[in-house]
Subunit: 328 residues, 2 copies
DNA sequence: ATTATGTGTGGAATCGATTCCATAATATAG
DNA sequence: CTATATTATGGAATCGATTCCACACATAAT
């Protein structure tokens, strides 16, 4: 691999001039430029990005911290991020925590050490400690999926999506509605979606029995189990169930099918996330599309804007769409 | 951020000695080491990896080129890769082609420019041109999922898995078996799985009608469509269908349900890939588990072994397991 | 004719590490 | 008591770029 010095010699100019051609900066005569370009072309020379980064302190690498890459939401966000970043010559350095919260801290440090230009954090929580850490490392960070005071973020409108979904069920005549949620530590999915549901029920003067509210974790089996609990404990069985993710809904659906409870006749069912499979289920699942790719793109754009000292928004709340299908 | 020079001054030693402490190399007295370590501890000093890479030509970054991150197989492989690489202090630089074949070439170049220590390629084809390019760039590459002469690779035993799956259907009494495949350019999924199916049929003296063999692309709708074609065209309708991916099988299942064709009674159905959803389908899908995480781990380990000049295997073929469920 | 401005170029310092080499002090062998 | 390892340390070159600064020359303005 050639170096800038060799290119300079071959083109009979100084390293400085080669650098000017490379970066389109300063004054270079047409002839000198031509000679340098010719040599670069012929040798297939590529400047060492490590030497470059050492001087410029910029790496064109964005770190992405995510809880898992195996589920649809993060992988879609990463797809959106990747395509937008690639357009601007940035690469993604991946940091997968595998749901280990401690690793979030570790990776923030690691990515700083790796001197990434910015970090995208697909957060599952928004601990003050985490926020603190983010501010400490002094690297531009954008959080996707959770609101965070004082830190750039791109979120979904979880609260209103939940309200609207609930309103839709009520409008369809349901008055007894169950809810399968997740831990409220996850403010977006756990807290806000539940809040939206409860507020809408209250606004309509509807009561929610305690046993109708279950809390699971982020997997299919958990949805199955929760549905079981809802149906077992209730004196008044609900006629509809809201699950905060499609996977939980799929679990619930699996339970209902096992018990020959027909959807939507005896139990309506809705989810969140618009997973690919949701439309192929039997019956097709009513769900909320949060357009994760777009979230990734927006996060990328805001981060890049900040890096280039352009105007950016501290806070972006994305739109959602209800996908009404046969499960209601 | 402190530099090695400042650390050296603070510990009253030379940069050389600090470097020795950092890398555990050469002779350092106990006292000197202690002083240096203390200063490092106090300042939270982290050596610049760019300066380091510039000298050592090593980056501890592995590039991963993949066709998409949205589907289960690649995201599982990446999970396996990531966890194994992280153990050894390596990071993943992601390059998502979004199924654009041209980008595979581009990214090979880009990753070389980025001076990654090695590349993992989740290949969908094995063009001589691609192989040529890989050899050209002169960076250690391991291909996952496809066999490739002269290049390190980790593959599944697609051929025997397909034969065994076919044999299982035959053993269950099926003699008329349809097949939903993909383009043979994808040698592993398109060619080998089909070959395995056909060979096993022939070995059992069974005939396969031309219309029973359909070719789709990698999505659910395509499976649905293919199932439609199989059932529309046939005089002799098959009693079982093999789809080369679970998503194709899910599409086929969707079609069958629409037409009230009961699985497995009137049509048995099997897939490949052991997708998470497969066990929650109704009926649960019989499929082949290729243990993608393990493939990722193995790929990582072989690559690391090569990088560290340890013994490695040029070629690894992984085991598979038949997951027999209610769809047969 | 003199000064100011614009254009073009290269020398040399710099970024922050690693590593070769020289040197010195101490320990061990002959 | 010399000769030879062994241990410990630092100076200086190096990796491959960018960028400040000085300088030369041509042209335009005064």
């Amino acid at each position: 691999m050639a170096t800038i010095k060799e290119i300079a010699e071959m083109a009979s100019v100084s390293r400085t001039t080669v650098s000017r051609v490379l970066n389109n900066s300063g004054y270079v005569s047409a002839e000198a430029r031509k000679r340098v370009e010719k040599v670069i072309e012929e040798t297939g020379y590529e400047p060492s990005i490590y030497a470059k980064s050492l001087r410029t302190k910029r790496t064109s690498v964005i770190g992405v911290i995510l809880p898992t890459i195996k589920t649809e939401t993060p992988s879609r966000i990463v797809t959106g991020l990747g395509s937008e970043l690639a357009k601007h010559g940035y690469q993604i350095l991946l940091a997968n925590t595998n749901l280990d919260k401690e690793k979030e801290y570790e990776y923030l440090d690691l990515l700083k050490t790796r001197q990434v230009d910015g970090i995208v954090l697909l957060a599952t929580n928004t601990d003050p400690k985490l926020i603190q850490k983010i501010k400490e490392i002094n690297v531009p960070v954008v959080i996707v999926g959770q609101e965070a005071k004082g830190i750039m973020h791109v979120t979904y409108d979880d609260y209103h999506a939940a309200r609207e979904l609930t309103a839709f069920l009520i409008q369809k005549g349901h008055t007894q509605i169950a809810f399968i949620g997740v831990h409220e530590e996850d403010r977006a999915v756990g807290f806000l979606r539940k809040r939206g549901f409860l507020d809408e029920m209250t606004a309509n003067g509807l009561n929610v029995e305690l046993e109708w509210i279950q809390e699971g974790i982020f997997d299919i089996d958990s949805g199955k189990e929760s549905m079981g609990k809802i149906l077992k404990q209730s004196v008044n069985t609900p006629t509809a169930t809201i699950a905060v993710t499609d996977r939980l809904a799929i679990g619930a659906m699996s339970y209902l099918k096992d018990k020959d409870i027909v959807i939507p006749d005896r139990m309506a069912l809705v989810g969140f996330g618009a997973s690919e499979i949701s439309q192929y289920l039997e019956p097709a699942l009513t769900t909320v599309d949060f357009q994760n790719e777009k979230a990734g793109e927006q996060a990328a754009n805001q981060l890049l804007a900040k890096l280039n000292a352009q105007t950016y928004q501290e806070k972006i709340i994305l739109d959602y769409r209800l996908l009404i299908r046969q499960s209601v």
